[in-house]
Symmetry: C3
Subunit: 672 residues, 3 copies
């Protein structure tokens, strides 16, 4: 496992570097990311390249056993470039050019910018591409910009022509007869700013995705053309950020990484595990935590510090969900610059800040782990998948209907009780292959393509349990209403044996009576409710609405469709349940899909998660006390008494005692 930080040698005199590296070593670090904002240092004027300083820094790191991830610096173009080539600067929604100096002020679709980006990357590859001290490359940094220039407008029109072929097709898919929007010339089509035609809005998101994929491809090609095959390529994404379709953009990468910041407040493991799962799902493989906060950030409304011990929990929580590396951002703040006050390990005085002590403890943990196994050979393996779709999020967020309807919150609503019940989940694309799962949930997958339909139907056919949440199956890939009631697609409607007679944005909570496992309980639907109409005699209604608005009263809230020969079935959930009822639903779903939790007992605030070694019966069991109190875990009957806590090398016998924010990592054999 890799452990380290982002380091900016270009901010400091070379005479300081040895001390920085000494302190990194002393904290147990073995990797360092550098250079990703150093363009103006690497190419101070056009065509004049200075890499000696970087060579020297890499050498010092390597000599001290620290591997290097090299960043391409394109997230922050130098002033000479934007000054001489204003077409490389991004245009804001209001038509103004972005300012120099706040990074990400470039237009990723600019041909000029791509030319300069290629040049600097080629030069870096020429110098460091064959350097075995480098283990990988990070392209750019946290892609996020959308450009609104006229030039981008023309590219968008060309993109649409390419995708739709004819204006007739486009007009038809977008229903442009509505409000007299019909286009008779590609040049008439605007970049949508603010609410607009749903088809146009979704198409522009697809275009923005294409822009990033193309921008990235330029650099990927340059690196692959000149670098060692051992050099992997990554980009650091930003969790739930939805500026582009991450499934598309991550295709060209070898490895996905992300930047995890809490910002204000504190870490809530029930909500953050799913972001790790999302990132792991982008390529369905382990990921790197390329940046995470050393105590606090500087960009939030209130940049409070994490509690002492909290960062250690977060580190192992990330590992438990598939992280193979962890890097703090940043090692030390420059004296100036926008992030002077960001958390760091080293202070303005050049000495360790209080947080350094906790980082050093984590370093020591990791050293213990690395000395006993190869973490990267293990990965989380789960029976449950929750589907995720950028198209659906864009579609819904543009027309929430109830302003509180947040598609990410709906996904979380499904994910949290699984985490609380110690059941691991995957989060995968709504178009992903589903062969390995027992239970698949499609929460608010509004845009439901034929590919998804086919995958879902095959999954049910094989005996899987498929849950369709609210708003699932309302739209096609062009963001147009499907010409049938939800779940919209014919195979799913048939398998579900039910349809959504009507959907209701709620101004108050609607009562719901559940009768899931033979007993009855009362809950509520909040924000949204769908009135289900059974279409098949075999369909069972397992929850109904109470008296509410006259329309829902007495209607079906949850249905279970006919069970096929392999035990497969489709459950339609029309309610957005309150937490207690959602917990009940989750237990019931786990039960009917025969899913075992990672750990049999529930201890409030204590996480139990697993990674499995490939082709092996061995697993790592992570037990993380996310609370500020000590916790005891009774392992009798659940663990082999010889099991050892890798972090302490102490055997776990009977009761495992965890201090506040304490962690245990156990290697277990599930074949036993």
């Amino acid at each position: 496992m890799y452990y380290g930080a982002a380091w900016y040698p270009e901010h400091w005199p070379a005479a300081r570097w040895d001390e920085d590296i000494r302190l990194m070593r002393s904290a147990g670090m073995n990797v360092c990311r550098i250079a990703e904002f150093a363009w103006s240092t690497m190419e101070p004027t056009e065509g004049y390249y200075t890499f000696d300083w970087l060579e020297c820094a890499i050498d010092k790191l390597h000599s001290n056993g620290i591997a290097v991830v090299l960043g391409t610096p394109t997230a922050a173009p130098p002033a000479w470039l934007t000054h001489h080539h204003p077409d490389t600067i991004a245009t804001e929604q209001d038509g103004r050019l972005a300012q120099h100096g706040n990074r990400c002020h470039y237009n990723p679709g600019s041909i000029t910018y791509q030319k300069y980006a290629r040049r600097i990357v080629e030069q870096m590859v020429k110098r460091f591409g064959h350097d075995p001290r480098i283990i990988g490359w990070q392209i750019d940094n946290e892609y996020n910009r959308v450009d609104y220039s006229e030039d981008t407008g023309r590219r968008f029109q060309a993109y649409l022509k390419d995708v739709y072929g004819s204006l007739d097709a486009l007009n038809s898919h977008w229903s442009t007869a509505y409000w007299s929007q019909s286009y008779s010339d590609w040049r008439e089509i605007p970049i949508p700013i603010g609410p607009h035609n749903p088809g146009l809005m979704l198409a522009f998101r697809h275009f923005a995705t294409r822009v990033w994929a193309d921008f990235q491809r330029v650099q990927v090609d340059s690196i692959r053309a000149g670098a060692l095959s051992s050099h992997w390529i990554t980009h650091n994404f930003m969790g739930w950020f939805d500026g582009f379709d991450h499934y598309v953009v991550s295709k060209d990468l070898d490895l996905v990484s992300w930047d995890w910041y809490v910002g204000s407040g504190h870490h809530d493991y029930l909500s953050t595990g799913v972001v790790h799962d999302l990132t792991r799902g982008l390529k369905r493989q382990n990921f790197w935590l390329m940046e995470t906060q050393p105590g606090c950030v500087n960009w939030s409304q209130n940049n409070n510090m994490l509690n002492k011990g909290e960062a250690r929990c977060m580190a192992w929580h990330a590992v438990a969900h598939g992280a193979d590396a962890l890097l703090y951002w940043q090692w030390r703040s420059a004296y100036g610059g926008q992030e002077q006050l960001h958390g760091s390990l080293i202070g303005a005085d050049g000495a360790p800040r209080p947080f350094y002590s906790e980082a050093a403890q984590i370093g020591s943990d990791i050293a213990a782990l690395n000395s006993s196994l190869d973490l990267s050979k293990s990965t989380p393996v789960n029976d449950v998948a929750i589907l995720h779709s950028y198209d659906s999020r864009w579609s819904i967020n543009a027309q929430r209907h109830n302003k509180s309807f947040d598609p990410v919150a709906v996904l979380n609503q499904y994910a949290r009780p699984f985490a609380a019940q110690n059941i691991g989940i995957d989060v995968v694309s709504a178009e992903a292959a589903l062969e390995t799962y027992k239970l698949v949930i499609a929460p608010a997958i509004a845009v439901l393509t034929e590919t998804s339909e086919a995958e879902m139907a095959a999954f049910v056919e094989r005996g899987g349990t498929l849950v369709l949440g609210v708003r699932t199956g309302q739209k096609d890939a062009y963001n147009a209403l499907l010409p049938a009631l939800q779940p919209g697609r014919p195979l799913l409607r048939k398998l579900a044996g039910a349809e959504v007679a009507e959907y209701y944005a709620l101004d108050d909570s609607a009562p719901v009576s559940l009768n899931l496992a033979g007993t009855t309980s009362e809950g509520e639907s909040k924000i949204w409710a769908e009135l289900l109409r059974p279409l098949d005699d075999a369909t069972k209604v397992v929850a109904t609405y109470g008296e509410f608005n006259g329309w829902l009263d007495g209607g079906a809230a949850i249905t279970v469709g006919p069970t096929n020969a392999n035990g497969g079935k489709v459950i339609v959930v029309g309610a957005l349940l309150d937490d207690d009822a959602q917990g009940e639903l989750t237990e019931w779903l786990a039960q009917i899909a025969s899913i075992e939790p990672v750990w049999p007992d529930h201890i409030e605030g204590v996480e139990f998660s697993r990674r499995r070694f490939k082709d092996s019966d061995e697993e790592l069991l992570f037990i993380i006390n996310h609370t500020r109190s000590a916790q005891d875990v009774n392992t009798a009957g659940s663990l082999d008494p010889a099991t050892v806590n890798i972090l302490t090398q102490q055997p776990v016998q009977g009761t495992l005692h965890l201090e506040a924010y304490d962690v245990a990592v156990l290697k277990i054999n599930i074949g036993v």
Copy 2:
């Protein structure tokens, strides 16, 4: 009475139309509005007109007994037009052009746009002007845009020159010596954006009104030149919307209509009746409800559905206040387009949605009504008028002094207790003739013209009771302070026998002691209070302020001026009373002005409203249960036992039982 929906045949293949029309018939519909967003379908490229589809749709409607209202499509110009003629696109406040595709993106003052608008209307008139299947025309849709282009700036300057004649006059009316604003050239005068000189701001509102009147006139002239005289012309306004002076713009129309949407939440009949009254007051005649929501909308923060039964109450509530027609918007949503998720009667699957059943019940009600009488021959007739003035609203809203001072809320504060006490009101222009009323209320009529003064004085002279609310009579028609204390105009000051010594924006509620009808009660003034100073020995103080800020303490809050030979008097109300005190004030006003309620008993949530037949002693009595519980109305002694509920054809004897959201329509003879 007309009943129907807005239908967009251009969104659907012609093969579908018969089924739509069958379903309309089945819901009892007899009118349909079409074509008002179909420009790009009617004129797909410049000068190429395609009306055959529309001819066919009209024909199918007519064959099924459905009358047609034809909309001119100018609210949504086609893309070819805005693309080739950017001067037709509206300029936003920030100087950017509006985007194509969100409708209302045109500049109504553009000469080019008016030319194209005239052409398409002329073509429609050429084709359908002599068609007796058409009953009327709707021009454009919900006028609302203000253009900020330089061209509009020049037009505004020309307008000012036209209105003021000389810069000296303008400088004087606007007090431009203040802040060195004096203009020495018409070209120096800006379009005001944000707060500016009150004279300039009001003048720009007048100009915006002129722009809409001129824009509309182009189309009115085109239609009148070529259409049958039986074809009436309307426009669908938007309730309290104040983008222009509706009294001016409605002058050229035959009929006023409006679009009533609840948005989030539910219908409150105490506040909505007054909007119907406002619309009826624009031309002082019945109106059409051209659009109303079939359950829910899509553009609000939370698009909840109306309760089952609520729409039926709303329908009859509108009729009771003067609606002669009711059309749902819309029949069915296109698969795409910005309003995919708006309420409709038909779903994406082409079948009736749940709301359709309620619409059909209303259709059945209306059929019962139409079979027994001609609704359009009746109209609400009232003894009370509340004055309304766009100038005053603009004047106050630009300088609220207390941010909570909303002139519409003040009007509502007067209107609501009348509705609660079953007393019908008219809402008419502050410059309207007042001959028919017993009681007239001028709430926050800040801009008080000489015309108003003369009408009001004559009304009092004839024996009327005139109530002057806070802020009434502070400004002249140029938004300048009148050189006398409120009520500002000399005749009114004399009749009132009192003046406003000082006005106070309140940060807390000021206590008020009322002594209206011999007994004393305690209330509060909120948001605002005016200290009245009697000027005449005959003036009586009927309410005083308690201890508050040292200035108001013990001062007069309500005065009654001297009563003239005909019993006429002016009451000045300096307080914005709390609801209870306002209720008391209302009862007292009704009593001194000898006004009888429509129904003697008050039943919380049950509305009693009347329409009177012309030249007849017959009236329609509407009894509407706006509550979710059943209600009993004791009619003994109030109604002839032979009275029949037109909707059920059952006689009303003794107790009239109304289910939740139930309605009764009774024909009564007030001569009896």
Copy 3:
């Protein structure tokens, strides 16, 4: 003492002027400010000057014993000027030009504008510079605009070149290697809009200061070149407004004045005294209250009226804190114009408004004072100084770290308990000489220069008590982190004997145990907390943090550094204490610094403040009852029984009785 109002004769016919002046006299007024918005009246078209009306107005004022302050009219350029010279109009952040007519719409850095400004001022000086009826000049009005034009961008670059000398120096001071910001050409440097590099942001504030100083200098030079030496020059500032460094801009003025408005709500003397103190500290001399509200304003969210009597308290509160004059804004509102509804003394009808009676009472007070002494020979003299720094406010406000961290609120937090404990304070520049004080407090002086360091160290050396608040000493003059932990500068770190090991933005309150004067008490730190680390054996910890986030727990919150031979010491306060604890801290600080309050007893809401006569043992004692209840002050033992209340000419014997909002002004001899 001067007393008067702002009067706009140009709004009214000359025939009215005598009546206005008669009413001023009748209210006891002896000064009038005129002409500061009369450019379009004085120069109606370019080069045509009309001063006769002004001459006449001045003459009428003088004949009635009213002195004149003449305003230069540059805050509101005439329309002909901005119309013909658009380069004189300010450019907004979004690149648009400001509109004419809302004043302050000019670009103060425009060479063209400065040319026209010089011309009108020179013409005024030519006409009135030798006029002894004039006592002083006010330049412009409430400087506030920042221009964002490209021209200003070029000036800013030239300014930077002038200040930094080389790009290397600039790049180094701003750490531009960070985010690849390095500049290789001065033309690459943008005007910062929104968050940007801290060095750039602070430099732009310095530039904005320079622009105003230069703009003002043009007028100062014109006046000094042609006016009598008895004519002083002032500008009316706006309290806490931070658009430029007021210490720099006030250097060229003879006298500082400010405009005090409460806006919404009521006066809180504990918070407003410090604004007077701030203004007094700009030049460390008495000031004028050039504008204050006659009851209410018109620009606030809720323009409520001050309570009857409140304005009188405010008047004497201002005098007690160093005001030598008081002028109401405005005498009377024009019929039109943006401030129609602003408070005034005369109504739209030309007669006194209710507030006039209170103004007349104040006028009568002032006449009593003026008849017994020369107020201007006295000034507040205090032992306590609180330091204030625009650089620090800009630095912190750009990076609050906790959004609730308001540097002005922190200053107030220190100032309020002194006011409550009847201890007068000065507020002076963080770079001011500190020779006269016993106690100096540096609250959140983030930017701490070498000049400050030297002054502070010398102050401590002489025996002073220096308090360093949170965030003090983190940055250098370029807004870069100092390369040492706070208090950053070596002399201060040594004297403090402590450093800030870490700073914490707090999401909750952290407990603090204080042990200041031998007893222990419990308090809280809110918003922020700094963990102190003693560096010297002699350093004492007098407050510690309780259990909170694991990092602060048990750490030092307040330290007292070693006491030197003269009794000097540095106290570091790492906590932002709650009000009670701050009160305790204040008492303790006063005690250890041997500071006596103005009055021994504390009476809630009653202010005791003093002005001392130069070279004399005589002082004025102001006793102001800021409450709405009568208050009794026991003077026995504290005052010579012969002491007379100047306002009533009654002796104060035993108990001084003050009615609600009542005031007493006593002349006392502190030599006694």
